[in-house]
Assembly symmetry: C2
Homo-oligomer: 581 residues x 2
């Protein structure tokens, strides 16, 4: 990575590495019921199998594609213009939003008016939207009124990954095709622990899961660039990548690169945890160029506005920050509203106290004022903002355990119960909710944590950081936590927040981002297999067949990281043709 050169809007360029096509891959689009529903998938072409009697064709494999237009050679990428607003027409035609004259937050207006920021600023020519007075524009609201939105249909197509058509297509190819379909389509029965994943995801099923609150579609009306995706335990397990600069570490250009790098390797959502001077401008560049939902922790920015003094935070400052970010298009907000005054003493005898940054900010505020936080007391006001833009809640676990010692303790579980209560408040407003989870949990306590979450939070999707299953491997926490993430994903967690090798030690660079993504793609996929997600095994089967037939290139290309597999192979030439695992 370059050392932080000055970032200039006029000359900003896309990272070359982000737009290179993946080997033997091409982007295809599956069209829905209308021409503007075009769902991207990656088609990986395979070589032929040489048999005694000639060659047998191997069918292409279709995989879920988070990389957006970057990997489509037909799309001209210019990060100064941002991505095309593919959902703009859907949002507009619903007729329940209005175009604003400009940002309505005080802070957003101030930034726009500041001439010193001109060089840095993304040149957004589109004004923000907001729900018309009295309207509710959340996907949950539509779902509960029985409406199947284009977003829902898009998601149904995307989750199915052409599985049915694919296997039917193979079977239609005579005896060889039938044999291939049996081979490639076979899957072990799963153990789903109560998840109910249908063989075929329909738009109506998506709608019903969102209406029930068991899944969310993070899709702010001011982020029309997003390719719709869903987070819920009856769908594919998703992963999130955290990025974010700090004053000392990197600039806007690097953060946009980390975002495009994250989605290239499979990040389903990205959280921008930037701090420092240009947090507003950094976010704008990221959102405008991101085809995946963006999450933030608004309290981080609010804290910067009061020069880091937690006790000086006010509802008004926080409210303005929410509106500022909602009008930029942030799709979900981490909000630590579950920390109640009475919970704080429960952390007194912990090994590692309060390790969540948001949690410790709010605890400090509560103790300084000796009252319930404005996040809790103004929760319904926050819901009003969320539903005006369709921002989803990611209810923060401010009291998550920061060590094995503190796992599943009363502080954590008391907060979780409050998050369950707040979920019901949000649902009353038809606002989408997911629940954040730990943290550090030894293996034997992971299932208990999952079960309590499902019960106390009424099956709202769980979104967990790891969990790390031991504390003693700094430098390798992508692995300590992938072990826990695979398990909690299996037990029912809907989205896994990655942990990079730099966890506890420093800020991740691009290499760390990729290492974190890879560990979490593995965890999420292992969980999909274990749950028995229909079709999850197709890619494993195809890769294993390639491996058995010594089709090396196919083996590389069907894997999560063709570049690394190929490099490793080329480093040493295995003498023996027989493999060892």
């Amino acid at each position: 990575m370059n050392a932080n050169p000055q970032f200039l809007a006029a000359t900003a360029q896309v990272d070359d590495a982000a737009v290179k096509p993946l080997p033997n891959s091409r982007k295809i689009y599956v069209e829905g019921s209308r021409a503007d529903i075009r769902v991207p998938m990656r088609e990986i072409t395979q070589g032929d199998t040489r048999t005694a009697t000639g060659v047998e064709k191997n069918p292409p494999i279709y995989v879920y594609d988070t990389s957006g237009p970057y990997t489509d050679p037909d799309v001209k990428i210019d990060i100064r213009s941002g991505l095309a607003p593919l959902r703009a027409a859907w949002i507009e035609e619903r007729g329940d939003t209005e175009v604003l004259a400009g940002p309505t937050s005080e802070y957003g207006q101030g930034r726009l008016a500041d001439p010193k920021l001109a060089e840095l600023r993304f040149n957004l020519k589109r004004a923000p939207r907001r729900a018309k007075a009295g309207a509710n524009v959340t996907q949950m609201h539509y779902a509960r009124r029985g409406i199947v939105t284009p977003e829902m249909e898009y998601i149904a197509i995307r989750e199915n990954q052409r599985r049915k058509e694919y296997l039917e297509g193979l079977r239609a190819g005579g005896p060889t095709g039938e044999k291939l379909a049996r081979l490639i389509g076979r899957q072990h029965p799963g153990q789903s622990f109560g998840a109910n994943i249908p063989d075929e995801i329909t738009p109506e099923f998506v709608r019903d899961e969102v209406a029930r609150g068991r899944a969310i579609i993070p899709a702010n009306i001011n982020h029309p660039e997003t390719e719709p995706m869903i987070i819920g335990r009856n769908f594919l397990v998703k992963i999130n990548a955290n990025i974010g600069n700090s004053a000392v570490s990197s600039g806007i250009g690097e953060e946009v690169e980390k975002m495009t790098w994250s989605i290239r390797w499979g990040g389903d959502t990205v959280m921008d945890l930037s701090t420092g001077k240009h947090i507003h401008e950094t976010r704008e560049w990221i959102v405008r160029n991101s085809p995946v939902p963006i999450g933030t922790v608004p309290i981080y920015q609010a804290l910067e506005k009061v020069d880091g003094k937690a006790e000086e935070l006010t509802w008004e400052i926080f409210r303005d920050t929410l509106i500022e970010q909602a009008e930029q298009g942030v799709d979900y907000f981490t909000i630590h509203a579950g920390i109640r005054l009475a919970h704080i003493p429960l952390t007194a005898n912990r090994m590692t106290g309060i390790v969540s940054r948001g949690g410790s900010i709010m605890a400090k505020w509560c103790l300084a004022h000796h009252k319930e936080s404005f996040l809790y007391t103004h929760f319904e006001d926050i819901c009003e903002i969320m539903k005006a833009y369709d921002v989803a809640f990611s209810l923060g676990d401010g009291l998550r355990p920061g060590s094995i010692w503190d796992a599943n303790d009363e502080a954590q579980l008391a907060e979780l119960r409050t998050l369950g209560e707040l979920t019901q408040v949000a649902w009353k407003h038809d606002v989408q909710v997911m629940i954040e989870g730990p943290g550090h949990v030894p293996m034997q306590l992971i299932k208990e944590n999952m079960d309590i979450q499902l019960k106390d939070c009424h099956e709202a999707p769980f979104y967990t950081l790891g969990p790390l299953t031991t504390d003693i491997a700094p430098g390798y926490d992508h692995i300590t936590s992938a072990i826990g993430a695979a398990q909690i994903g299996w037990y029912g967690t809907a989205m896994l927040c990655y942990v990079t090798p730099k966890e506890h030690l420093g800020l991740p660079n691009k290499k760390d981002v990729k290492d974190g993504i890879m560990a979490y793609k593995i965890a999420a996929h292992a969980a999909d297999l274990a749950k028995g997600h229909p079709g999850a095994q197709i890619r494993d089967n195809a890769l294993s067949k390639a491996r058995f037939e010594f089709r090396w290139e196919d083996q590389f290309n069907l894997g999560f990281d063709p570049d690394t597999a190929k490099d490793f192979h080329d480093e040493t030439l295995p003498k023996d043709s027989m493999k060892t695992a």
Copy 2:
């Protein structure tokens, strides 16, 4: 790693990196009932905690130490002389062995007589030993006769890691000490799935577990350099590192380096899977310099002796190879005696056939001769050799699944049942046995595999490769498999065979070896925590306390890899004092 320079015995040197002391660590020895039982542990010193009222001392932490004399600055290491034979007196005083005039295998004699090998050969001045006629020198044999050997006492001290004395010592330090003991000694209850780990391991408990066949002590009488260790599910979960050269990849010097590198980072045993011209000489250098048990797959060497033609293998060649290796001091042999003729057709409809190298060699032999393998028909003859040197069986899973598709299929389970039958035959001879396991298994089938092994193999220790929980991440199979290894270790597997990032792609170099070891130290420790292994949480607690108190150096030093943690920290300076997990 250097590019394969010519290896010369006269100038061979220890790897500098292997003898560097670990930061803030010193080797201590805990003495047993006799002066020559000196059990090594690593003591990690910690800095003070600064409090409002002054400083509080933090006690040192004691950790299991596999690194042998290499990390003891008081020991002069010269790999040309090998390590001191610490068990020599114990073996001799049992009076049941005799010193041979020299190697009794034809092959061993031939190598010794070959003047062309003089430059390469380790200069062993000690003649091999063998059981006296009619004697049985296995640890199991002693255990069943009620004898507690010095090896068993050594292991009891080693497994306890001074836990009781340590916590008692803390408690004796007044209120601060009592508080510390409560903090550091606290642990979550485990879920042990039927394992029964006592609070304090006694020498008698070690004996009883070995007598029962539930644990093994790999300790060939010709490897007196080993520091005794135990493999069983009522003890700490162990890990194995595979090393081994090939004609194209590395020489003797590099393999010795990989061995010392493996044990530095926590390898409990090492398997030498070398192939090529100097397999015998390479093994001698490794065994003579290894403080951990060495395992091999003798059929690999036997195959070299018949120029790679499996069908030309004979019992006589194999037998000579077993004796050759037993007299060098190999502690356990992988023997694929469970492949029966009737099992082979069960693999016909597999996705990936037979992926075990030993398995495919034996299947080829069986089909060529259309009869049961000499490993199966001569199993009792093999037992006679094993008990004359105390070599333990590692009964190979020649039909292990090479893909998710093939997991827990009838071929695998039929072989496992045969391994259970062979276990009972070996036990009739008081020969120690562990059972090798897969391979590739999706998470929801791991517990089933473990339960079947416990039942069919009468609780003989399970020793598994991974298992890999998905096939689609070549380049990252240390992670796909650490996820499975942690789980199967939790469920009852006694030793985890590491998988490196190069799995399926090439031979591991030193970096890969370390990456594999780290992933597996994590898996094994996560399993110990989950089982509720007494005291397993002490190191986690100490590290978490250091982390909470921003004692950075202690945090690095208490971790598995202080070097990497420190490097990562120094790469970026985190702006915020609050950590994110």
